[in-house]
């Protein structure tokens, strides 16, 4: 019976048992609880963070908060100059960058190839025409140049090549993508765009985990426009970064209300991420929860064993307690309090480690996964749910063995009879 007296006596006993228990044993159990807590939160958090890392990279290196792109029926955004002029009048817009985009073929061994039958060292690639200064201010593209140099304002006949287009940085051959071999900064390559051919020099390599960029060639917008034979200022993309605190969805709706939707596809960064990425995130969250559940079961078994061994070795004393009139419920409650202590202390230390060390630490130094800069996603509400789950599991795991021992015959327990 859960009476106040039972709770009081249970607490009295638990407190003294914990206070006078071996520090090593208590430390070890709390450590197991801490690891279980971290397993519960961190495994899922890393898996989800791996995808959020992609999303974040997408947002910072490519789309910004809102991106305008050409309608599916057009190759460019009509009337780009007036749209950009309008955007610049909006107080929410902090930065924007305009990009031209077109398909191309890039060939590296055209100077040394001796016969028509020799397989060309070539691949298809998207060419992105940028204003090097505006693009760098927006995406920090220059920081992703791993060899050679970033484009300068007046550069001509010079390009940056994405890492997936280079044999030394690519994962391997993909369907439709044969990475270029023997290319280094300074190498001359031949670029074919809409039938026009231009010999350009590779100025540097860009390494990024955003597929759309890693499989692209970057060149100054003015030059690309010339190669494409375009005299208008209509670009394929306008990426917009909003001022802090602005809501991308509200801004998107504002643009749609202003009629821009008739000339361009308006998307928030979340809209622009392929559906598959969200599915992978859900899948990873499920996987994480699965792994965490196993961790929870392991923690429950650990606590069960710890409490069972504790109770079985103290069986005589449990018998004495019952013999002198201490109720079985009070004894069980004392074990529940002890389990609760282990779970709560483990969780408190876990919270400190998580939010004091891991989350900020990994945010500052993301985990370098091959396709993402993984962060640790640990929303406080989800963490609290996991703590509740851990505490509940631990309490049940602590209660069951104590009940098993307490229910044994009092005199048998006192006399150590089986």
């Amino acid at each position: 019976m859960l009476s106040l007296i039972n709770i009081r006596v249970g607490f009295y006993l638990a407190l003294r048992q914990l206070r006078r228990a071996s520090l090593w044993t208590t430390g070890l159990i709390v450590f197991v609880m801490l690891l279980t807590f971290l397993n519960l939160v961190v495994v899922t958090g890393i898996l989800v963070g791996l995808i959020d890392g992609i999303n974040n990279s997408y947002r910072t290196q490519y789309t910004g908060d809102v991106i305008l792109s050409a309608l599916s029926t057009k190759e460019y955004i009509e009337d780009t100059p007036s749209i950009v002029a309008f955007l610049k009048t909006l107080p929410h817009v902090a930065l924007l960058t305009e990009r031209y985009q077109t398909g191309s073929t890039i060939e590296a061994n055209y100077l040394t190839r001796t016969s028509e039958t020799e397989k060309p060292n070539a691949t298809s690639a998207q060419v992105i025409g940028i204003d090097p200064v505006a693009e760098d201010a927006f995406t920090g593209l220059s920081q992703h140049v791993i060899e050679g140099q970033y484009l300068a304002h007046g550069d001509y006949d010079q390009v940056l090549v994405g890492n997936y287009l280079l044999a030394q940085y690519a994962f391997g051959e993909l369907p439709g993508l044969t990475p270029l071999k023997n290319v280094s900064p300074g190498t001359k390559v031949r670029l074919t765009i809409n039938g026009a051919t231009r010999e350009v020099i590779v100025k540097g390599f860009v390494k990024t985990k955003i597929d759309a960029l890693a499989m692209s060639i970057f060149m100054p917008a003015s030059e690309l426009r010339t190669i494409m034979g375009r005299s208008d200022q209509n670009v394929a993309q306008v990426a917009i970064r909003l001022t802090p605190g602005s809501d991308p969805v509200a801004f998107k709706n504002l643009l749609l209300a202003s009629g821009i939707g008739e000339k361009a596809k308006v998307q928030t960064f979340e809209d622009s991420i392929p559906n598959g990425v969200a599915d992978i995130k859900t899948t990873f969250a499920m996987l994480g929860n699965g792994f965490s559940s196993i961790g929870l079961v392991v923690a429950a078994i650990t606590i069960f064993i710890v409490i069972f061994i504790n109770a079985i070795t103290r069986r005589k004393f449990i018998g004495i307690l019952k013999g002198i009139g201490i109720s079985g419920e009070a004894i069980e409650i004392s074990y529940i309090f002890q389990s609760l202590f282990y779970a709560v202390i483990g969780s408190i230390i876990g919270l400190a480690v998580l939010y004091g060390l891991l989350v900020p630490g990994i945010a500052a130094h993301p985990i370098d996964f091959p396709f993402s800069d993984g962060i640790l996603v640990a929303p406080i509400d989800g963490t609290l749910v996991r703590i509740a789950l851990l505490v509940l599991t631990t309490v049940v795991a602590g209660y069951l063995p104590s009940r098993m021992i307490v229910r044994r015959n009092t005199l048998d327990s006192i006399l150590g009879r089986n």
Binding site: I5, V9, R16, L321, G323, I324, G325, A330, I414
Partner: protein
């Protein structure tokens, strides 16, 4: 105060049934100090366990203050043990992680006393056995005699109707044994009912009455000359 009629206790070990008590009749009055004596295996402790409601007899009747105990639920028995009885075990039976004061305080808390009043009563009970300077020592920091005195304090702190003692001096040296028996004598003097199992004639003789058991039966029930 306590009446035992035709008490039988058997233990089963597979098909083999061993009768330890074979129809015991016994009675103790309020304020009596009774020693139960007998050879090893005679059934002394078994009789004490049945009377003190720590065990369930196979058959027979136990009445305490006129109340038949057979029909009592486990909870009622627990309450009876908590409020009406006191126990002194051969091996002291103190909780190792509780200090002397805490060991004595615990049953008082279970009876619903506030912590302050429970500790005051416990301190006074420990003072009665001259342990006022050892209140905050753990059992491991006390000698055997001191531990047994703590055990006696725990048994008497709530002024029980009956104090049951199962060979309380068996693990003690002569000096400590004498101290414990002197405490029992003092308690008896102020009207405490005590039923004590012992195999030592010297201590049995200080009681009012010696009940001798042999092979599960009472073979003698004699008043002492004291």
């Amino acid at each position: 105060m306590i009446e035992v009629t035709n008490l039988v206790k058997s233990f089963k070990d597979g098909p083999v049934e061993t009768r330890v008590l074979k129809g015991v009749d016994f009675a103790a009055k309020r304020g009596e100090f009774i020693a139960i004596r007998g050879r090893s295996g005679a059934g002394k402790s078994t009789l004490l366990y049945q009377m003190s409601l720590l065990d369930e007899p196979t058959s027979g009747e136990i009445r305490i203050n006129g109340k038949e105990t057979h029909a009592m639920s486990e909870r009622e028995k627990m309450t009876f043990r908590l409020t009406k009885f006191g126990y002194v075990f051969q091996d002291y039976a103190l909780l190792p992680e509780l200090t002397a004061l805490e060991n004595v305080t615990l049953p008082l808390l279970m009876q619903g006393a506030t912590r302050a009043s429970a500790e005051a009563k416990a301190s006074s009970a420990l003072a009665r056995v001259s342990l006022e300077s050892r209140l905050h020592n753990l059992p491991s920091q006390l000698s055997g005699g001191e531990q047994q005195r703590v055990s006696v304090s725990r048994a008497i702190a709530h002024t029980p109707n009956i104090l049951f003692a199962d060979e309380p001096t068996a693990n003690l040296d002569r000096e400590s044994s004498s101290t414990v028996m002197a405490i029992f004598k003092e308690l008896h003097k102020v009207g405490q009912t005590i039923i004590m199992v012992t195999h030592e004639d010297e201590y049995a003789r200080i009681t009012d009455r010696i009940v001798t058991l042999d092979d599960g039966k009472i073979i003698s029930n004699e008043r002492t000359s004291l």
